[in-house]
């Protein structure tokens, strides 16, 4: 018995089997864990919406993303990115992109809300992907204090503690987060646009996301108790302020005092 077991353990196929089982287990587990993200089936949208969305896609997006949204050298595939991606990228004006660069900037929105919804419907129909978030998570009624803590741990290293933005490598950056629609904040966490990592629902639950939205809304609505904020950029802005305006004003006064006596 013992000998037979040993024998079978040493067969070359055994190692392969063990690795295969291990991969299947860990990969499968990962897939289950990450699958918590809400996805939309194509059935949520009507066939008419999808075909209208396809027309808009062909006219405005296909040159880069391909006629079947399969992606080209100029733009990634849209299959499986979900309605949330379209709503975020087009809804914040980042798409359609103008010119290439390290990062596509936020700009004026090019489409109406209805058009964006139609394109989202078309992209959602290609494959399951992150959906446009449920309105109940978008209200700023969560726990601002918990949201602040989550924000400092997960977001502040790139976006700054109050969302004033920050630099990344090679010309990339984390944009400012003031006065951003709650929907877009939520979607950004789910889809991880451009250089941002994905914060899926198993990482930050929808309720946690709502807390973060609440925290950002609190900062938007409550200006600093200390007076003008100087862009919330911290000590650099304060240093420039005291040198240019503080010391500048005082030097102007000293010149005035010196001039009077002469």
């Amino acid at each position: 018995m013992r000998k037979r077991l040993n024998l079978s353990r040493r067969k070359p196929l055994a190692a392969t089997l063990v690795i295969a089982a291990g991969l299947l287990f860990s990969g499968g587990g990962y897939a289950v864990a990450t699958n918590v993200v809400a996805t939309t089936a194509a059935t949520e949208y009507t066939a008419e919406q999808i075909s209208e969305g396809r027309k808009l896609f062909l006219a405005n997006c296909a040159s880069c993303h391909g006629l079947n949204a399969e992606g080209t050298a100029a733009g990634p595939s849209m299959i499986g990115v979900g309605a949330a991606s379209v709503d975020f990228q087009v809804g914040t004006g980042r798409m359609p992109g103008q010119g290439s660069g390290p990062q596509l900037p936020k700009k004026n929105v090019q489409f109406t809300d209805d058009q964006i919804l139609l394109m989202a419907a078309y992209v959602a129909s290609l494959a399951p992907g992150p959906a446009i978030p449920d309105a109940k998570y978008l209200e700023a009624t969560g726990d601002a204090s918990h949201g602040g803590e989550l924000f400092r741990i997960n977001c502040a290293m790139c976006h700054n503690a109050v969302g004033a933005g920050g630099a990344l490598t090679e010309g990339k950056y984390a944009p400012m987060l003031n006065d951003i629609e709650a929907k877009h904040v939520y979607e950004a966490m789910v889809i991880g646009p451009q250089n941002m990592p994905v914060f899926n629902d198993s990482n930050i639950t929808p309720e946690d996301k709502q807390d973060i939205i609440t925290y950002l809304a609190y900062i938007d609505e409550n200006p600093s108790a200390g007076g003008f904020e100087l862009g919330s950029l911290g000590p650099v802005a304060e240093g420039l302020f005291i040198w240019i305006f503080g010391l500048g004003l005082i030097i102007a006064i000293t010149v005035w005092l010196g001039a009077k006596s002469n």
């Binding site: 400092r152 502040a156 004033a164 630099a167 950056y173 108790a225 007076g227 005082i250 030097i251």
Partner: protein
């Protein structure tokens, strides 16, 4: 009227008090000598005063803060007015800092006044230091006072840094972490110093209380002592003044302390106080509530120290990270050690400059008349190089903000700064020195030939001349009253040997004074004034023609 009534009316209570004090502590004598100290008038002489007044504001506002601040790192649950932190676990130090900001009446204003005046204190001191440098006010007999002032600047940085860490928020904790890392990078003793300072592994539960002791006791006491020495020496040396008619190295021209300067300086204190209060009431400084309690894991984007520590942060950012050396099983983090050594060397050079210049010039005379920066081209050039070096390090502390604000690549900004740190000081030296020499040439021209008025006059015999307006006496003094140095030759010592020091001195002296513009002499001036197209001749020329 009887005489007795008159005598009673003379003086009154004030005179009686003065007499009482004079008879007991000799106030009269002190006031007589001190009150007659003369101070010259110039706006640039008030910069040190601004630093002094900022320090007074720091003491007043700081005392207020000590009433409410608690330097303990015991964890509590916050239950104050600031909603986004309600229910958050934090240290008592941070909670009490939040209470000062949100609960204590006038607390926010005082906290902001304390922080803004700290920023102003070091800024004014730095600018005062630059004024002293560029006008040559550090020359004999004031070299020691330069050192005292230098110590004050360094102590200002120390006071600022220890205070910056007290609120125990995320920003200050990140700053402490960097200091901890730098200390740990020092070979052999680094780790022991770190665990001694923090009472174990970073961050520990001790550091805030220890920094508090330094911040409110040791550092301010040292600053006060050095300020006292600094001012005492000003009284001993008397104040410097800019050149003008009747102003020499033997006198001071200005107004007496009593009553003119006491009134002026007193008034000026309230102006500085008013400006600080105005800023504190309207502009947020260090919004600690934004950063949250300190936790070693998060680091916020845009984490920077206050401006006066910025140049050290910049030095760290600019040092390439791949310089580490492995020796005998130990890692030497050169990316930390090189900035550390470079900043210490820079500070050392700043402290030593007056002595270095005295050695180069060999000038043992006392100097009480200040230089115009252009009249000491090499010193001004060296100063500009130093300012550029410091400035690049300072700017390098905000590479990330520069990159996002001007939409550039962070990596490019960093590389650009690295190059600029090396090239910038040399370029600044050359450009400044040449500019000074050119300005001196222009001054010389103006002294000899007056200002060009643009008025063309035709003389009776047909010659056209431009009328040059002669300078008034005050202007003239500004342009001609400076010392002329020449390069020193290599001199053998008593034994007849030429030492290396002597050679070095001759070489540096050549660098200093090889290119120079000599001041206009009286003979040159007389000669120029009797010259054909000088203004005086131009005015008299027609009469000459008539009499002939």
């Amino acid at each position: 009227m009887s005489t007795t009534v008159n005598e009673k009316k003379q003086g009154g209570a004030l005179a009686a008090t003065a007499n009482y004090l004079d008879e007991r502590v000799g106030v009269g004598g002190i006031l007589k000598s001190f009150g007659r100290k003369v101070f010259p008038d110039h706006w640039s002489f008030m910069l040190g005063e601004v630093a002094l007044y900022s320090f007074v504001i720091l003491l007043i506002s700081g005392t207020f803060l000590t009433f409410f601040y608690q330097p303990a790192m015991t964890e509590v649950i916050y239950d104050g007015a600031y909603v986004p932190l309600k229910g958050t676990q934090m240290s008592i130090a941070y909670a009490s800092s939040l209470d000062i900001s949100f609960e204590i009446r006038g607390g926010m204003l005082m906290r902001q006044a304390h922080h803004w005046s700290a920023l102003l204190f070091v800024a004014a001191a730095g600018l005062h230091m630059l004024r002293v440098f560029f006008t040559g006010a550090f020359r004999k007999p004031r070299e020691i006072n330069w050192l005292v002032g230098f110590m004050l600047f360094v102590l200002g940085m120390a006071a600022g840094f220890t205070g910056y860490s007290l609120p125990d928020d995320l920003l200050s904790g990140n700053g402490l972490r960097i200091i901890d890392g730098m200390i740990k990078g020092i070979p052999v003793i680094g780790t022991s110093i770190s665990s001694g300072l923090f009472g174990g592994e970073f961050p520990g539960t001790e550091i805030v209380a220890r920094l508090y002791g330094l911040h409110i006791l040791l550092v301010p006491a040292l600053i006060l002592i050095f300020i006292a020495i600094h001012l005492f020496m000003v009284v001993i040396h008397k104040h410097t003044h800019y050149s003008g008619p009747g102003r020499t190295d033997e006198n001071v021209v200005g107004y007496p302390l009593m009553p003119v300067y006491v009134a002026k300086a007193g008034g000026f204190f309230f102006i500085v106080f008013g400006v600080v209060m105005l800023i504190s009431a309207t502009f947020t400084v260090n919004p600690i509530w934004n950063y949250g309690p300190y936790d070693p894991s998060p680091v916020s984007a845009g984490t920077q120290p206050d401006w006066y520590i910025g140049w050290l942060d910049g030095a760290l950012r600019l040092a390439p990270s791949n310089w580490d050396i492995m020796l005998f099983g130990f890692t030497y983090p050169m990316g930390v050690l090189v900035p550390l050594v470079v900043s210490l060397v820079f500070l050392g050079l700043v402290a030593a400059y007056p002595f270095a210049e005295a050695w180069v010039t060999g000038d043992k005379r006392e100097h009480h008349v200040l230089d115009r920066p252009r009249n000491a081209p090499t010193r001004t050039g060296i100063g500009a190089a130093g300012v550029t070096f410091y400035g690049v390090l300072w700017a390098a502390a905000s590479t990330d903000l520069i990159a996002t604000f001007f939409q550039m690549s962070l990596n490019h900004v960093l590389t650009f700064m690295q190059v600029l740190l090396i090239v910038g000081p040399f370029a600044a030296y050359i450009i400044t020195k040449r500019t000074c020499l050119s300005l001196q040439r222009k001054d010389r021209e103006i002294v000899l030939h007056g200002r060009e008025t643009g008025r063309i006059v035709r003389l009776p015999h047909g010659e056209y001349i431009e009328v040059h307006e002669p300078l008034d006496k005050f202007e003239m003094y500004k342009l001609v009253d400076f010392k002329d140095y020449r390069p020193t030759a290599v001199v053998p010592n008593k034994k007849g040997k030429i030492t290396v020091g002597s050679r070095l001195r001759a070489a540096v002296s050549r660098l200093y004074f090889e290119d120079r513009i000599t001041p206009v002499t009286q003979t040159e001036l007389n000669e120029a004034q009797s010259h054909d197209h000088s203004p005086a001749v131009a005015a008299t020329a027609p009469q000459d023609q008539l009499t002939k």
